[in-house]
Amino acid sequence: MKPAFSVLFFTVTSGIGYGLLMWLVGMQLVSGSVASATEVDVNNFLIMGFVGLTLATLGLLSSTLHLANPKNAWRAFSRFRTSWLSREGVFSLLYYPIILTYAFLVYLNGGELNSLSQIIGALSVLVALSVVICTGMIYASLKPIRQWHNPLVTPLYLLFSFTSGALLYVSMYAGLENEVPRSITILFLVLLVVSFISKMLYFRSIGKPDGATIGSATGFSQAHVRLLDAGHNADTFLTKEFVFDAGAMKLLRLRYLMIILAFVAPLSLVIAAMAWDIAPAIFLAMLSLYSGLFLERWLFFAEARHVVRLYHGDQRA
């Protein structure tokens, strides 16, 4: 699949935004108050919340950039019943009143949670979770793309949202409060390792030959089938949309780079930051993780091969 910048930007950025917000609210819910859980004061909470929401919003806005007919974008909310994209739209919209109400309540109560704000907070976490799940499911539900139609895809979206949100949390915290928050940093590290393992499992899973072949695509399953002519000379919508070839070697190298940027470097930097209390290392880790995630998302597209490519010569021996 051709990696479209707007979509990469959307999924990474909104993932971070929702992740951050989930952490913020979640930690508060666990401990019952802003200060005790997050060790930040209300003002800083609001600043961090604002950053999270902005990221989520930016992501959403950028996702409308690739619409060819944006004047009908509002209609995207109407097929909640079947469409993950529609659901994502609905949840992401629903999120605003919920999270704003929560923030307002928290602000009103000076950082303390009451049962109403607890309910609303929990709801916000659920909705944010849903948004991220929907994003994952948009891809995971597409059977023609086996690299996406994979049980690990949605968990990975969630994991990356959690890890990237957590790291943003940590680094903002470090920026604002000038120290590294222990518990969440450790959680981050654990999640990063889990993400890493999941991603490796994912790579292994998509590396196995599977799915439709030119044999089943044409019905000639017992023979060797080659495309002779696609029926058109120039690129069509289909080839522009689905045929993207980065080259196997390049993809492999980028995978390694991605592993370093998204996992190895952040892990080492964060451990270093924790061990020696070097806050700036956290920022470096964040930078590394985010570029790693961009790369991860780029690979997610670049390595995805839509079955329609079979009809365009992908089976060429």
């Binding site: 690739h66 619409l67 060819a68 007919n69 944006p70 009908n72 974008a73 209609r75 909310f77 109407s78 097929r79 079947t82 469409s83 993950w84 994209l85 529609s86 739209g89 948009i138 539900s141 597409l142 059977k143 023609p144 030959p209 599977d210 799915g211 439709a212 072949t213 030119i214 044999g215 089943s216 695509a217 044409t218 019905g219 000639f220 399953s221 017992q222 023979a223 060797h224 089938v225 080659r226 495309l227 002779l228 002519d229 696609a230 029926g231 058109h232 000379n233 120039a234 690129d235 069509t236 919508f237 289909l238 949309e241 689905f242 839509h306 079955v307 329609v308 009809y311 365009h312 021996a317």
Partner: protein, 272 residues
């Protein structure tokens, strides 16, 4: 009703008539226009609802086939195969041996929307622009509601959806819904444009729910196949595999050596 097409791979010569018939009908049809970019310049392209792909099918090279061929071969009952074609090969693939041409068969495969029963292109559409008509199963795009997100084209394994660049909305085969029900057309012409046009009558239109329809009968008689059944879309359209032509009787050879001058010719009394 379950309307759709049967396409006969045994007789399709890959002439592209159905593709251009489709283009001309539909560009002024219910989902028209179908725009064309760079029509007189470099790399001309536009939106089409039906395209003809040509494959070479080569039994001789099975061993070099893609690894994962084995996998789909296992969904045996869904796939017709050339195996038999190659083994009766004397006839289908002969005439090639000594000059080194491989045993290769060219197959033309016209592809338009399969009007799937489990049409994920519809499920994923967030706007509701894509839908499957309850009354006849035709999958359509309401041109006024589409936002051009392309998701449905991602969900379609058959490449049946193309975004119209100029109009920013998704186009796909309508099964010529604007012809097949048009009472103002003579009854014999209430057929999709591609079906009407096909010079080899390799496209047949009809109701798969009706066991007496031509499409149903052909599907049964000729083991009509669905493409990529393993994806579970339950495509309605069926492809009839190339026929296997049995051996043709040949005259029995006489044993005469028949060396030119030695041959003694007998004249029969034949009245002029």
């Amino acid at each position: 009703m379950k309307l759709g097409l049967v396409i006969d791979l045994d007789t399709c010569v890959g002439c592209h008539a159905c593709a251009t018939a489709c283009k001309q009908w539909n560009t002024s049809g219910t989902i028209g226009p179908l725009s064309d970019q760079s029509p007189y310049g470099q790399d001309p392209n536009g939106s089409w609802l039906n395209r003809i792909r040509t494959f070479e099918v080569n039994q001789a090279n099975t061993s070099t086939a893609l690894v994962d061929n084995s996998k789909s071969a296992s969904c045996g009952s869904h796939t017709f195969d050339l195996h038999a074609l190659a083994t009766q090969g004397e006839s289908a693939l002969a005439g090639v041996g000594s000059n080194g041409s491989p045993a290769s068969k060219t197959v033309h495969m016209p592809m338009s929307c399969m009007q799937c029963e489990e049409a994920d292109c519809v499920t994923v559409c967030p706007t509701g622009a894509s839908y499957k008509r309850e009354e006849d199963g035709i999958v359509l795009v309401d041109q006024d509601k589409c936002m051009g997100c392309n998701l449905c084209s991602w969900a379609c394994p058959y490449g049946a959806r193309e975004l119209d660049e100029e109009q920013g909305v998704m186009k796909k085969c309508t099964l010529c819904v604007d012809r097949i029900y048009d009472q103002n057309l003579p009854e014999s012409e209430r057929k999709p444009a591609c079906v009407l046009s096909c010079p080899t009558s390799s496209r047949v239109f009809g109701d798969f729910d009706d066991p007496t329809s031509e499409v149903s009968k052909l599907t049964v008689e000729r083991a009509g196949q669905a493409l990529m059944p393993e994806l579970g879309y339950k495509p309605t359209n069926r492809y009839l595999p190339p026929r296997e032509k049995g051996e043709v009787a040949a005259m029995v050879k006489t044993n005469e050596p028949a060396l030119s001058k030695l041959k003694k010719w007998a004249n029969r009394m034949i009245a002029r």
